[in-house]
């Protein structure tokens, strides 16, 4: 079972992620902000992280940069209310980008795609 870390400042969204992604068979851990996410990361290993970009007074992009630097083996998907961050070069560090929607099929597909890619990479040793 793949373990996912979901970071979003909205509690209802965290709950929605947790329910929907758990239904897909993932082990979902949520965090409300950067500090909590770092703490959760210190406590355990995750196969993938889903980050919101606007985290109250923090930036998901900063967390993304930190993760890429320190956990380069863990892929990250940005899931944001803004489509324009796709054009922000910093967002290109992420393995995937999804615009938030009540229909979570795109996010689910993206998670599956990124995890499959990671598995493929591990298999080939790249």
């Amino acid at each position: 079972m793949s373990r996912l870390l979901v970071v979003d400042d909205e509690s209802n969204i965290r709950l929605l992620y947790a329910e929907e992604l758990a239904e897909e068979g993932y082990d979902v851990v949520t965090a409300a902000g950067t500090a909590e996410a770092v703490e959760k990361l210190r406590e355990g290993v995750f196969d993938l992280a889903v980050l919101d970009i606007k985290l109250k007074n923090e930036s998901g992009i900063d967390l993304l940069q930190k993760l890429v630097k320190e956990r380069h083996d863990m892929p990250v998907i940005l899931c944001s209310a803004f489509s324009c961050y796709k054009d922000d070069f910093s967002a290109w560090l992420a393995d995937g980008y999804v615009v938030k929607s009540g229909d979570m099929s795109e996010l689910k597909q993206e998670i599956a795609r990124v995890l499959a890619k990671k598995a493929q990479r591990q298999k080939t040793g790249a």
């Binding site: 929605l16 329910e19 606007k54 209310a81 489509s83 324009c84 938030k100 929607s101 009540g102 229909d103």
Partner: protein, 541 residues
């Protein structure tokens, strides 16, 4: 003694005296006036005086002396009157000239008046005149304008014309300006072009006259030690007048005047009169030149003002756009998250609600409405994005391939096939990549009503003049052209937000980049979209 003259008669009749003619009737009965005006000049009176002197009367020589002195004084007075008359005429002329010159700030008008005054019969009556102007940038004295005939035939023709029209100076100047200024300039072009003397060349007669600020009458120019023979040959006359134009110690130019046709000698009086005339001319030329420069500066200031105004409007517009950006950003965050929660949980509930449960319809409505609202939100955000086109040069074939890849799933779902014919060696197009990609995806993914002949979309790129044209032919749809046109009108009454606004939004977006989006529809072809993308930056066009 019998006198021959009628001086001793109280009254005479016409015919009694050879000096009395018609018009002299007033003198017939007034001997005193008659003696002073007529008798003193009469040969009969002269003989009477000689006889009186011969008679031995002691007053005889005295009378003769007084008579001679009287006649000398009378001649002198007459010459003074004549001089006074000519000066009065000159003053009247200069006054007229001054009025015209003072009222004009148009350089060509001033020069027309000046040249006409020099050459007109009622003016200074010279045959030909040149005006040279100081080019302060190049520090040269250069030929600028000339007037006058180049040969006898032309001279007689011009003088006949002037005599026939009987115009005053101002009218002559106006006529010259309106009808002859350019032709005279062209006529003397060969001479004017060759007159260009550096002001540093102080040995040149023109610069000497200008620096001396005094008029010079040059005689025997071909042998004059100070005159360059080439210059004398250029003018083709041996006598000419140089009149420097100086205003407030500033060197303005030079007038050269001559009598190349009549060869009438140029007198000191001519020179003095012309000298008086050059002051107002120099001043008027300087004023007109300054006015011309002032106008140029004013135009420059106006142009700068207009540019500033445009910039200011642009800044205001950008501020408004930034405001729109902030608002839409706020909307994105404030609306999308709740929508996601509503729609997401509704979907979640729907999955767990058994078929046939009456609540299912309600939940489906929530899911549907949330989806609809997400669509509206996307369109609003895309529209606000369209306000900020960020242009650069992009490879269009790559852009099409990306859009096709992004649309592959949707096309597959609709059982559509697609082909792409990429143009060879296409230059990059100057576009906002994101917006054009969006538009292309919308066109590829739009699901219009009206079934076409086959489910196929062909895309092609090609170079057409200064544009790269993307042609998208959708064989799977056909709708009447009128309906097609209305679909492309942004926010038209036939459109509802979230219900096919995409194409209209694309047109608006592309129009902001001055990229035309056309759609043609025909039953046999389906719908053909064409987008012409520029290959140059706007300022290169």
């Amino acid at each position: 003694m019998n006198w021959e003259c009628c001086w001793n008669k109280d009254a005479v009749a016409l015919g009694d005296c050879p000096n009395l003619r018609e018009g002299d009737e007033d003198l017939l009965e007034f001997p005193q006036c008659r003696i002073l005006e007529k008798c003193c000049d009469c040969p009969n009176f002269k003989r009477d005086l000689e006889r009186f002197q011969a008679s031995g009367h002691p007053l005889g020589p005295v009378f003769s002396l007084i008579h001679d002195e009287y006649r000398r004084q009378k001649t002198h007075i007459q010459s003074l009157i004549s001089f006074l008359d000519s000066k009065s005429l000159e003053i009247r002329f200069l006054h007229e000239l001054g009025s015209v010159l003072q009222s004009s700030v148009d350089l060509e008008e001033v020069l027309s008046v000046a040249l006409t005054a020099i050459t007109a019969g009622q003016g200074f009556g010279m045959n030909r005149a040149f005006i040279l102007m100081v080019d302060h940038k190049l520090d040269h004295l250069k030929g600028y304008l000339a007037i006058g005939p180049r040969n006898y035939e032309e001279a007689h023709q011009a003088w006949d014309e002037i005599a026939h029209n009987d115009m005053d100076l101002q009218s002559l100047a106006q006529s010259f300006r309106a009808n002859k200024l350019n032709s005279e300039r062209a006529k003397f072009h060969d001479i004017l072009e060759q007159i260009s003397v550096p002001l540093a060349n102080t040995s040149h007669i023109l610069v000497k006259a200008l620096d001396g600020k005094q008029p010079l009458l040059i005689e025997d120019a071909f042998h004059h030690p100070d005159v360059d023979p080439g210059f004398a040959h250029l003018l083709g006359v041996d006598t000419f007048l140089l009149m420097p134009l100086v205003s407030r110690n500033r060197r303005i130019g030079m007038i050269i005047a001559d009598n190349c046709i009549t060869h009438r000698p140029i007198t000191q009086e001519d020179m003095q009169s012309l000298e008086t005339f050059t002051f107002p001319v120099a001043f008027a030329i300087e004023r007109a030149s300054l006015y011309e420069r002032l106008q140029e500066e004013l135009n420059r200031v106006m142009e700068a003002h207009n540019k500033l105004k445009v910039q200011q409007e642009l800044i205001v517009k950008m501020e408004k756009m930034a405001l729109v950006g902030r608002i839409t950003s706020s909307i994105a965050h404030s609306i999308r998250n709740p929508l996601m929660i509503i729609g997401g949980f509704a979907r979640s509930m729907l999955k767990n609600t058994p078929t046939g449960d009456p609540k299912r319809n309600f939940i489906e409505s929530i899911v549907g409405e949330a989806r609809q609202l997400e669509g509206v939100l996307d369109e609003i955000l895309n529209y606000s994005d369209s306000l900020y086109p960020t242009k650069d040069f992009w490879d269009i074939n790559q852009l099409v391939e990306t859009a096709l890849r992004d649309s592959a799933d949707i096309l597959r779902t609709r059982e559509y096939e697609s082909t792409f014919s990429a143009g060879n060696e296409l230059p990059p197009a100057y576009i906002d990549f994101k917006q054009v990609s969006y538009c292309l995806r919308i066109i590829l993914q739009c699901d219009l009503n009206g079934a076409g002949r086959k489910r196929l979309v062909n895309i092609g790129t090609s170079r057409e003049q200064d544009a790269i044209v993307i042609r998208i032919q959708d064989h799977g749809h056909y709708i009447p052209q009128q309906e097609m046109d209305s679909i492309l009108v942004p926010f038209s009454s036939t459109q509802e937000m979230g219900a096919g606004l995409g194409l209209a939004l694309c047109k608006t977006m592309l129009e902001k980049q001055e990229i035309p989006l056309n759609a043609r529809t025909a039953p046999e072809d389906g719908i053909i979209f064409t987008i012409a993308l520029p290959i140059h930056k706007e300022e290169q066009l």
